[in-house]
Amino acid sequence: MISNILLYTMIAAVISFALGQKLKAVRWSFSALFLGYVGFQLYGLYGQWGMVETHNIFSLGSINFSLNFGITKLGWFFAFFTTIINIMIWIFSIVKNMNEKEERGINFLWILLAGSNLAIFFSVDWITFFIAWEIMTWTSFFIITPGWKNSFKAANWYFILSMFGAYAMLVGIWWLYATPAIHTLNIASSIALLAKLSITAPGTVGIIIALFVLSFFAKSAVFPFHPWPAEAHAEAPDDFSPYLSGIMIKYGLYGILLFIVPLFIQIMKVNPNIAMVNGIPVYSYILAWFGAITAVLGTYLAIVSNDMKKLAAYSTVSNIGYAVTSMFILSSAGVTGGLFHVVNHAVFKSAIFLSLGAVKFRTHEREMHKLGGLATKMPITFLTFLLGIIAAAGIPPLNGYASKWIIYQALLSGHFPFLTTMIFLASTGAFLYLFRALHSIFLGQLPRKFNNVKEVPFLMQIPMILGILSMLGIGYAPGIVLKPIGLAVKAMGLTPMTVENTLMVGKLSSINTAVVSSTFIGAFFFAFAFYLIGKKRHHVEPLDNYTAGQDPEEFGLTPELYHFALKFYEPVKNIFRPIEEKLNIKNYYRALVRNANSFGATLSEMFKLSGAGSSMIFVLGLVVIILAGWML
């Protein structure tokens, strides 16, 4: 069944490629419909846990390569939710690609990506996982590159870090396999065996975990890999950014949930002499700190960026940070919170990126200070963005707060005061950049060149409206998502949290989301009553404004000049400047690339020596080899 779905995906990709350059609308609608079909099929697969399909590829020597697909609770959950979000995004890109220039073969790659997306979640052995992982990496590279003008550089940030991670994972996989006590490629059994091995050989297990963690962190842009989303998400095509930010960056988290977290849980169960902090292994604690650092760093970088897509990308980084921190708490609430936040983030961040895509679709502008006042022109887009940032900031009654609440529950009940503080700092900082984006794009003065901007076409509004609905829906009744999460958490060997549709029960307190939502509505009506009491309001033009008594026309005031958006948080930047200059990871990476280039250039000069020179290398090399050989 799973293999059939994947096969159909391949076929669909080929069909889309074969449709040719002219039938753009057909192709994109076809692929969106196809994805809908896949979603439907996936829904039907719910409950068939433990089903495994094996396809042998070849065996040579002592290794047998085969593709194994199976349905795990976690995998199904991810597959289903990502597919749903994917459908939303694809509906958006139908219009986008019909109205803008479409790169040849992009749709083909999109479908392949969707297929590898499923394959990642359905693979039950490491080889399959790695294959799906690789395909996902390179297809996304090619989807990112035709984006904006610096897209190649941006895609390289993503690609090199990702490939670095993938190779780390490759070594990890084979290390697992080469360890005599494990010698399996099956994911589930490797977890159990590794946990046992941790008693006798903690060093090996530690290194293997480190290799996998490198890979997952690189993919999910956890510190110190955080620079890539800002580059890649920002430069990617506008309809692909939601996918990158909503789904792609979650693969690393999926990997963590698939492998690292269950492994730690197992180790805690079977290994009595592991070093613990606050009831969790030290490793896990350290990794949780990585998450916290990511959260704060992402927030700071989002605050100081002026590019709207970069801002949203850094926001993604910081949200990933919350999820990572929460997962590595290893408690039931922690894992649930992390997982739930992943879903919520996928929903609201896709909504945010979709609305940004819509803004860009109409204005072709990306730097925030050049925009402004679009709220009245594009109300649906504005509303999507507004609700998106409310959710992102974790403000009730939208979905973001439900997961943040669980994360705080986990952190507080596990007694992690400093982690909590970091997360809270990041979370509060989120208001800064989110509001900044809201203001600079949608509020304030409308530049005159955008006077004729219209709302995006209805087909583009559909996914945004869907986004709004799902944010509201999950916020009102988080139980609909938390129940399947509970299944996945239970499969990891934890007791799932007690949840009902609108009730979440934590250790420190419980919360009824319906109550929260209705409180907000009630309060709004209360305020509205006051509003009605007051005398009727009077509408004036935006530029008819307080100017300290000056006549605007006298000193040539334009909406562009009267829109405060550039260097919005200069004070914050000033506060952090001393630290920022010292700790710029990006510069470090740049230097690395530069050095690699000059290293290569130096080496290649060796091949331009004279004939005597190359003979010299020959002979000297031989002498050195002989001498070294005798030493070894």
Partner: protein, 295 residues
């Protein structure tokens, strides 16, 4: 019934808040050797504002202001006011309160920045940055309290402090209280942290473009905010109250304390305000937290 209760809560908060504001103006005036307005001046102002015509640039402005006010009023419902609980105690969760409160800030921010005046936007950017400043010490202090009371419910915290003044958290955890009191000064936007409005710099900041009932709603929001923020601190450190009058009294004490500081302080430069909040109160809060963890 529940609607009436709701309205009752809302009006209590507003009235007490406005009363505090009025008394506060009088008190400040007396400290500064002025006569000052009567203590019911705030009520007069609000009534006047609601009866005047207001200017609005677009619907978002109205919506934002409404949301701001609604956010604060909604948050008050989660807070136990002495013996009064709007919901069952289960819902009075400090995390929810802190996040619900931000609806107010966000709404206000959205409303005034929709007006398109750079002064108000600068004010908002300052307000949000300052929020990061004061929430850190506040949160660290609160985390300590959550650890000792093993619950994040305000109600539970209050009940743990019952039985005499020696059980109050202000006595048990004085450093935490100092941190929170410093943060409260910034929360209320009083000097030396009145960088948000800063009339002489940015023409009252957020309020610059508000008029009529918009201004009235903003006024009410401020009143409710005073009530809410002092109320939280009362619940956290002053042992709550057995009856509402005691509660109001404690709030009033806190408010007067902050007004006193306000009346005699100059204003911080903006960056310095944030830095100051991240040094002194944060250090106090951390000391408190370490004491709690290590004992």
């Amino acid at each position: 019934m529940i609607v009436l209760k709701f309205i009752g809560y809302g009006f209590t908060a507003i009235i007490i808040g406005l009363l505090f504001m009025g008394i506060g103006r009088k008190y400040t005036a007396r400290i500064q050797r002025r006569y000052g307005p009567p203590f019911w001046q705030a009520f007069i102002d609000v009534t006047k504002l609601f009866s005047k015509q207001s200017l609005s640039h677009n619907w978002i402005m109205d919506f934002g202001i409404l949301m701001g006010f609604a956010g604060i009023v909604g948050t008050i419902l989660f807070m136990p006011i002495g013996p009064w609980h709007f919901f069952s105690l289960m819902n009075g969760n400090i995390v929810i309160i802190m996040y619900f409160m931000t609806i107010g800030s966000l709404g206000m921010a959205m409303g005034v920045s929709a007006s398109g005046n750079p002064n108000s936007t600068i004010g908002i950017s300052r307000a949000l940055t300052l929020m990061v400043g004061y929430e850190i010490p506040f949160v660290i202090a609160v985390i300590g309290l959550i650890f000792v009371s093993k619950s994040s419910l305000l109600g539970t915290m209050v009940s743990l402090q019952s039985g005499g003044i020696m059980n109050w958290n202000i006595i048990k955890y004085p450093f935490g209280f100092i941190a929170v009191e410093m943060a409260l000064q910034a929360m209320l936007g009083e000097k030396p942290f009145d960088v948000i409005t800063a009339p002489s710099e940015i023409a009252s900041g957020p309020m610059v473009e508000l008029s009529g009932k918009m201004m009235g709603l903003a006024f009410l929001q401020h009143a409710a905010q005073i009530f809410l923020e002092t109320g939280i601190v009362v619940n956290l450190f002053l042992g709550g109250a057995n009856n509402i009058w005691e509660f109001f009294l404690k709030q009033f004490v806190l408010f007067i304390l902050s007004l006193t500081v306000n009346a005699i302080s100059p204003r911080f430069k903006f960056e310095d305000a944030v830095k100051w909040l991240w040094t002194w109160p944060t250090v106090f809060a951390l000391i408190q937290l370490l004491i709690i963890i290590l004992t």
